[in-house]
Symmetry: C2
Subunit: 444 residues, 2 copies
């Protein structure tokens, strides 16, 4: 059974006339939920009664010609590190089994305010880090959907939801989007308010996984205008509808440390895409042709290691309190990370974030030359097995650099989805979308 | 009954010999708790069994010559917007009556790791904002202790605790310290990890209220080295013991909008202090003598209004989810703030933080000329009545500018305590302490 995504924005045109409705749309989604969920295990919890009531209210608004936003009535999933008043927030951890906070996170409150229909909480790895739960990839049930936003990507890929929230501190949005053939968007750090998300890391951001590129934008936009970015940050910049395609005069191909790990199929697919972009008239810069690109490649060689160190220190709390409460409910990975953190000093951390700031400045130096850079979203299709969520070598640089990244499901490897990644510049998320829209068209 | 503070660091010298002990010290504190608490209402919850057990463990460590830190055994209070695993976190709101999160906030976890003895949760105004609870000032029970860190200041002033945590986004640490005659320290924004504190505002920081200046430093320092600052921030900079007194060659007197409101007694007290500092050889700059000081005064005239606007937008969430849950349990102030936020746009917010950044740059321009600036901590002694926590005109500039502030209980008004405020520069909290230590000595 081949999974088919279910776009929402295009469906809304028939809502005003009553030919269709958000409730009808939701029931189609719930049909796919029934079919797919037993196979893929994308959800921790669902609130179907709540979703149906919300869809009915939305149906009335569309019929009255008064939708709250373009995504009014859109069924959405919420990664289970993000609070919802009506469902627990278990964070992929047995320590938080049934944990209920009785409030919505900022992003969730904004989505409801925009009329979106919250269907359920989607599976996350433990604390959005490494230890996988049992979600499977709808393209091949023997494979991981990627992580940590595992359930969000699997549910969107299977057509259960047109969009879902993810978060990314290493590769947690772009990687599962790549493996599951979805559109993924990890915004500039701070662009989406993380209030009420159990995600405290300085290079993490809340993003979207969606059935189409415009939906990946729209969901993020509707959140940002209602609750802004993280406090003190200016929030997501860009237009009220997804940026129109804009042909880039120039792009840089960033190999990242993932290129050396790329499978033959992934390598062929990317090389072919690069050829077609060049043939369409885009000037492509590489580490060989542009010293500024080479400087970026050098600055991100150790991004994985350094991101791990930064995340460890920043996870010292709350992992210490969780260990004190019940260490037996933490994974070995979590206990190891805590041990690593406890061997670090605040001076170590200061050195790490100073180095990260230098790498960010090197990347930002490209911003005057081009609207975005491109890379693979992952070095290969989803690996077989569900205990490892896959290699993050292609995604970690965008997290480390604090910049926006988009995964487009345009490539294939082993007959399975593989993402082409468009990585933008700080606060220029909209330019990355305009470039991505053009690339999607050019490679179609 | 005149309240007397109870310093801890000086008491520890007799712990190794067994002549005294952390447990003995705690019992003295609990004696004052019994005497004072019925009068002042500083606590929301206490865990006396837990505190006694922690004090006994500390007693053993001191006897073994292995204290975990200089504050091992120090009884501390935790402002009730900050999570503790053993007590609820009610945030000064009936909506959160009995709300238990089963974990310690970052600052609390660090304090316990340093051996500190968590005695209880101290009263905060509703969501650390405006609406007062019923705490009274131990210097005059008919007066407010100030807010929002009301209970922390009242408990320290009454000798129940040598130190307690506060937070400040407008004046919530410095003002109650001033009114209660304590030492108060609001660090540079981001210097103390706010994880697990229900405090999401971009110009807020967690700080300390203490019985002595070195204790205000030590408690903050012990937290910062264990859990750092807010993620992405370098954390509190400075030495392992409170900075030694250092005579400033030059200081600026910042009037703030509070000077025009100063009571005759406060004005006399400050003018006298300025005279004595000048007589001791400190060059004093003012808005009249230094255009850079005048530029700062101009830039902070609207700090109160703009801080209120910034805080409103940043409080849109979670106040919206609280209103949806049960609006009847929110104060009128909270509902008004939410209404204000809902009339704002993200563009309004961007304009506000851009303007704040410009004001910060103007203040930072003074940093090469002097180690700190000075002001009143409040325009008068604590006002009569407990429904209003007092005028923030003297404190809001430090919050708006994101810089460290210290309140020294060196002045008097109406025979009651009044603070002299030492305001430093970003990340130069230690210089502000060194200056404050010298001022304390010079004015003694």
């Amino acid at each position: 059974m081949t999974p088919v995504m279910r776009p929402y924005l295009s469906a809304t045109s028939s809502f005003a006339s009553g030919k269709s409705s958000p409730r009808d749309f939701l029931e189609l989604c719930l049909g796919d939920l029934e079919t797919w969920e037993p196979k893929i295990g994308a959800f921790v919890a669902v609130n179907l009664a709540g979703a149906r009531a919300a869809a009915d209210a939305s149906t009335k608004r569309w019929r009255d010609g008064k939708p709250l936003s373009p995504i009014d009535g859109m069924p959405v999933g919420i990664k289970d590190i993000i609070e919802t008043f009506d469902m627990p927030t278990e964070q992929g951890s047995p320590l938080f089994k049934g944990y209920a906070t009785q409030r919505d996170a900022a992003a969730v409150a904004a989505l409801r305010e925009a009329g979106a229909v919250v269907v359920g909480k989607t599976v996350t790895t433990e604390f959005a880090s490494t230890t996988a739960r049992d979600t499977r990839n709808p393209w091949d049930l023997s494979r991981t959907p990627g992580g940590s936003s595992s359930g969000s990507a699997a549910a969107v890929a299977a057509g259960i939801l047109p969009a879902a929230l993810g978060t990314q501190v290493i590769g947690s949005t772009i990687r599962p989007a790549s493996y599951c053939g979805c559109y993924g968007f990890r915004p500039t750090v701070g662009a989406i308010n993380r209030g009420g998300s159990y995600d405290y890391l300085s290079q993490s951001s809340t993003g979207t996984i969606a059935a189409t590129l415009p939906e990946a934008w729209q969901v993020a936009y509707e959140i940002a205008i209602r609750v802004g970015g993280d406090p003190g940050f200016p929030g997501l910049f860009g237009p009220a509808r997804a940026p129109a395609a804009q042909k880039p005069g120039r792009l840089a191909f960033i190999e990242t440390s993932g290129w050396a790990l790329a499978s033959p199929g992934a390598r062929r697919a990317m090389e072919d895409a690069l050829k077609r972009l060049a043939a369409a008239g885009v000037e492509l810069r590489t580490r060989a042709s542009d010293p500024k690109v080479a400087a970026v490649e050098d600055a991100i060689v150790a991004a994985r290691q350094r991101s791990g160190d930064i995340n460890a220190w920043e996870s010292r709390w709350p992992l210490n309190t969780y260990r004190d409460r019940d260490a037996s409910k933490l994974s070995d990975h979590a206990l190891d990370r805590l041990k690593q953190a406890e061997a670090m000093t605040i001076e170590d951390y200061r050195g790490l974030i100073a180095e990260r700031a230098r790498a960010r400045a090197l990347y930002a130096a490209l911003a005057s030359d081009m609207p975005a850079t491109i890379s693979l979203s992952a070095p290969a299709a989803a690996p077989v097995g569900i205990s490892w969520t896959g290699e993050p070598a292609c995604t970690v640089h965008a997290s480390y650099l604090g910049i926006p990244a988009i995964s487009l499901p345009l490539l294939r490897d082993e007959g399975l989805p593989l993402g082409l990644q468009v990585v933008g510049f700080e606060h220029r998320d909209a330019d990355a979308f305009a470039t991505a829209a053009w690339i999607e068209h050019a490679l179609a």
